[in-house]
Amino acid sequence: MSKYKMHVLVCGGTGCLSSNSSQIVDNIKKYLKENGMENDVQVLKTGCFGFCEKGPIVKILPDNTFYVQVKPEDAEIIVKEHLVKGRKVERLLYKEPLTNKSIEDSKHMDFYKKQMRVALRNCGFIDPDNIDEYIARDGYQALGKALTEMTPETVIEEVKKSGLRGRGGGGFPTGLKWEFAHKNKADQKYVVCNADEGDPGAFMDRSILEGDPHSVVEAMAICGYAIGANKGLVYIRAEYPLAIQRLRNAIKSAREYGLLGKDILGTGFDFDIEIKYGAGAFVCGEETALIHSMEGGRGEPTTKPPFPAESGFWGKPTNVNNVETFANIPVILLKGADWFSSIGTEKSKGTKVFALAGKINNVGLIEVPMGTTLREVIFDIGGGIKNGKKFKAVQTGGPSGGCLTEKDLDTPIDFDNLLAKGSMMGSGGMIVMDEDDCMPSVAKFYLEFTEDESCGKCTPCRVGTKRLSEILTKITEGKGTMEDLQTLKTLSQTIKDTALCGLGQTAPNPVLSTIETFWDEYVAHVKEHRCPAGQCTALLQYKILEEKCIGCTACSRVCPVGAISGKVKSTHVIDQDKCIKCGACYDKCKFSAIVRQ
């Protein structure tokens, strides 16, 4: 990289690519050429920077200038002003929402200040399709160290000592898992990477695979050495075409460099990786279900024991870890277990990646030390709630998790604290909700999801989630009874106690974690047939206030069903029989003349 004077890093994550970041790369290259600078400036398409809210992102090194919401046509001014004349393009700089001050470089952005990037260390820094760049940032050194200086036992010992726990949801100690698989003797063992990210609203695994695929390849080889496996499998969602392509590329170049395949680094250790495709089933995130799916069947879970470490893929000892878990491994071996365990809380070591989304100013992917509080994540890093609304709840752990509220904001985030609060870490999705979100509807949203994703094998989950979602639908339509609320609670508890796998056991969490905290809101739906958040369309009525309506016709033009009538400059009226309660008029009216009751 040294021969270039400057580097332009353009985000090539899925979010930014959707906003045409490839065209930005092409345009910048074009203008560099026009100015005869193509040998002085390197343009790279990297993995995700995490700051998806303001994508596409363009970062310029060495001065760390951070341009946001860049359009392809902005390439010209970036090249001519910044790269040629050294003058920053003011209008593309990020402005801190509270002070409206332009921030010149990423180091001074609140979004990055409290972050600590371990698993995401290379995302947004390197070209994921170039193995040399990964190697330049100490890539494959951990594998070399393991193979030449360590025994499988010492590798496992180091991972155990680090305190690393599985990042996919359960939080099981990774080192212990490796030890079980290591101790089971067999002619064939497997290392599996679970990249079946099914939690809606979580995209960290995809970002790691898109931004730094080699870290996973390297870690899988290390794991293979530790447990005595020479075959690795990555189970990935077919819906992630870019991640698949980059992973394939990574495997191919690792083979060419002799870092995968036979006799790796001349040590006699063989290891290779194959990709298996998922086909869209949330339950396949559960390791036994995942294994059945890899064998080509329905992804239904089976009872444990036997654990995959005893009898997994084709009945052989198999170690399954999540993408983010693997991404931590090379760093642990290089910097040492003591370094890793110095980060985090007593029982949750290291960092955690969260996908921050919903009603928050800075949507994106962040990584913070375990023990960071929700308040720091939501208000310091996340920049607070969108449009100055009031914070209501944050949902963590996806469909298996629960909602945390105002009173939990100062809780340090770790595996055990979240569990104690009735939620869970899950894969790290964090959806922020504001005063306009209706909690029974949110619970219903999640239950519809699990109802749909339940594999149908065990009755508590198959039938129970359906009943829960039916009752919640009743409530959101204003037809619920007080008895229904009681049933929700008892049924939830029963499902929790009796379902076969993690999916079913955690499915009622969205109900249980909202029904206590937001009891009044549930009761308002039942007793008063009222939705305090104004979300449940069946319980709503839109009306135009005569004294405020100026007759601008904006509402009648936006109404999709022609339910609003009225002449220009005179009061408009909504025909309640025609109104489908979509709320388009409410959003459109600039004079607060439309009310929702």
């Binding site: 899925t14 979010g15 959707s18 906003s19 998806c52 809210e53 303001k54 994508g55 099914g198 939690d199 809606p200 609203g201 979580a202 995209f203 995809r206 970002s207 077919a238 819906e239 992630y240 075409p241 698949i244 298996k276 495709y277 998922g278 086909a279 869209g280 089933a281 949330f282 799916s293 064998e295 080509g296 069947g297 329905r298 992804g299 084709w314 996908a355 989304a357 919903g358 009603k359 949507v363 994106g364 949902q395 996806g398 999705g429 959806i431 909700m433 979100d437 949110v442 949203f445 999640y446 999801f449 594999c455 936006v558 999709p560 489908i580 979509c582 709320g583 388009a584 959003d587 459109k588």
Partner: protein, 163 residues
């Protein structure tokens, strides 16, 4: 992967030949069902009964097993997709930013439900689970094209682009 090569609802002889070749070239037939189905859907665009029967025969497994797998996974479809498949992201991030209203608007405009295709075969509608572009929520995909921050009143004009 998502390339819908033949969405015209025709099961060409050529397609079957291509699929047969893919299956014959497999190193190991055991456990290959899902990858074969991925290939089949890539070729035909969907997995009707004839294709499932063909796969079962070639892999020497019961059709019931093939059907069991096809119906289990949401990625596999037994109904041909429209010429312009519409996917509305219903991940949580999109949901809290109003994806449901957008989805309802598509349903109303096209007069079809989720998983259906319009009579003229032009559009099909699906709810999708998180495309990972949560910064653009709510997100709608039409074919390969991504629409971000979609509001219900944009639906009509978006559909017009495809007329």
């Amino acid at each position: 992967m998502a390339n819908c090569v033949s969405c015209t609802n025709k099961l060409s002889e050529q397609g079957f030949q291509k699929l047969e070749q893919f299956i014959d070239e497999l190193d190991e037939k055991n456990g290959a069902l899902i990858s074969v189905l991925h290939k089949a859907q890539e070729i035909f665009g969907y997995l009707p009964r004839e294709v499932q029967q063909f796969v079962a025969k070639k892999l020497e497994i019961p059709v019931s097993k093939v059907y069991g797998v096809v119906s289990f996974y949401s990625f596999f479809t037994m109904i041909p997709k429209g010429e312009h498949p519409i996917s509305v992201c219903m991940g949580t991030a999109c949901y809290v930013r109003g994806a449901e209203k957008v989805l309802n608007e598509f349903k109303r405009e096209l007069n079809i439900d989720i998983g259906e295709t319009t009579k003229d075969g032009k559009f099909s509608l699906d709810a999708l689970r998180c495309v990972g572009a949560c910064g653009l929520a709510p997100v709608v995909l039409i074919g390969e094209k991504v629409y971000g921050r979609v509001t219900p009143d944009q639906v009509k004009s978006i559909l017009k682009e495809f007329e």
